[in-house]
C-alpha cells in the first residue's frame, strides 16, 4: 500500500514537472506574446494541479487526513489562472504588441 501511494504521488509530481518543462519550452520557442501565453496559461495550470494532487495524496497517506488548504489552492488556481492569461493577452493587445507575421486573421482590428 505504501509503495503504491508513493509511486502514484511520484507519478503525479513527475507529470507536473514535465508539464512545467513543456510550458517553459513553449515560452522560449513560440514566436509572439499571444502564442506564448497559450503555453504559459495552460500547461502550467495543469502542472501545478498535478503537483498539488501528488502532495495531497502523499500527506493523506502519511498523516491520514486530507489537507484542505491544498484543495483550496487547487480551486483558486483553477479559477484565477485563465483570468490571468486573458488579462495578459488583453493588455498586450491594447498596448499594441504586434502579432506574429505569419498570423492570418485579426477580427478584433475590424471590430474596433
Amino acid at each position: 500500500m505504501t509503495a503504491i501511494v508513493e509511486i502514484l504521488s511520484a507519478l503525479f509530481l513527475l507529470m507536473g514537472v514535465f508539464l512545467f518543462l513543456v510550458s517553459a519550452f513553449g515560452i522560449i520557442r513560440l514566436p509572439d506574446v499571444y502564442t506564448r501565453n497559450h503555453a504559459a496559461s495552460k500547461s502550467s495550470t495543469l502542472g501545478i494541479l498535478f503537483i498539488l494532487i501528488g502532495t495531497l495524496l502523499y500527506f493523506f497517506h502519511e498523516h491520514g487526513h486530507v489537507d484542505f488548504r491544498i484543495v483550496l489552492a487547487i480551486l483558486f488556481i483553477f479559477m484565477t489562472s485563465p483570468v490571468a492569461g486573458h488579462l495578459i493577452n488583453r493588455s498586450a493587445y491594447h498596448s499594441g504588441v504586434k502579432m506574429w507575421d505569419r498570423s492570418v486573421q485579426d477580427d478584433l482590428k475590424k471590430g474596433r
Partner: protein, 158 residues
C-alpha cells in the same frame, strides 16, 4: 433556490428535534431525508428542484477538468513539434449568453479549450475575440463552444 435550501435545513433541524440528538451526523441524515421528501414534492415548487442545479454545476466542473487536460495535450503537441507551422489568428465569436457571470465562466472555459484564448470582449458583451493557435481549428472550436459550453452554462442558469 435559496428558499428550497432553507426549507431543507429546516427539515433537517426538525429531524434533529425528533431524534433528540444534536450532532453533525443526525443533521446530515435529516438533510438527506429532507431532500428525499422535497424530491417527492418537487412539482409543487415554483422554480425547479435545486438538486438539478447542483448536478449541473458538477457537470460544468467535470467539463472544465476534461477541457484542461485535452488543451494541455494539444499545446504539448504544438510546442514539441520540430517545425512551427501553425497559423495563429484572432476570430470573433458571438455568444448567446447575457449575464456577466455566464460570460466570465464561458471565457474561462474557452481559455482552457485546446488552442484558444480570449483576447477581448466587445463593449456590449456580445462578441468575444478569441486568439486561436491554429486558425484551421476555428470551426472545431466554435462548434464545441456553441454546443458544449454554452449549453452546460445555460443548464446551470436557467
Amino acid at each position: 433556490m435559496s428558499f428550497q435550501i432553507l426549507l431543507n435545513v429546516i427539515l433537517a433541524v426538525t429531524w434533529m428535534f425528533l431524534k433528540n440528538e444534536f450532532d453533525g451526523s443526525t443533521f446530515i441524515i435529516g438533510y438527506v431525508l429532507g431532500l428525499c421528501i422535497m424530491f417527492v414534492f418537487r412539482r409543487f415548487f415554483k422554480d425547479r428542484f435545486y438538486l438539478n442545479r447542483v448536478i449541473a454545476v458538477f457537470r460544468l466542473l467535470l467539463l472544465f477538468a476534461r477541457e484542461l487536460i485535452s488543451s494541455n495535450i494539444s499545446v504539448l503537441k504544438i510546442v514539441l513539434k520540430p517545425k512551427l507551422d501553425m497559423r495563429p489568428g484572432i476570430f470573433a465569436f458571438e455568444t448567446v449568453l447575457r449575464k456577466d457571470w455566464e460570460i466570465t465562466v464561458l471565457s474561462n472555459l474557452i481559455t482552457l479549450t485546446p488552442g484558444t484564448l480570449v483576447v477581448d470582449i466587445s463593449a456590449d458583451n456580445r462578441i468575444l475575440y478569441i486568439h486561436a493557435m491554429d486558425i484551421a481549428d476555428k470551426a472545431d472550436a466554435v462548434h464545441s463552444i456553441k454546443h458544449t459550453f454554452e449549453k452546460a452554462i445555460m443548464e446551470v442558469s436557467k
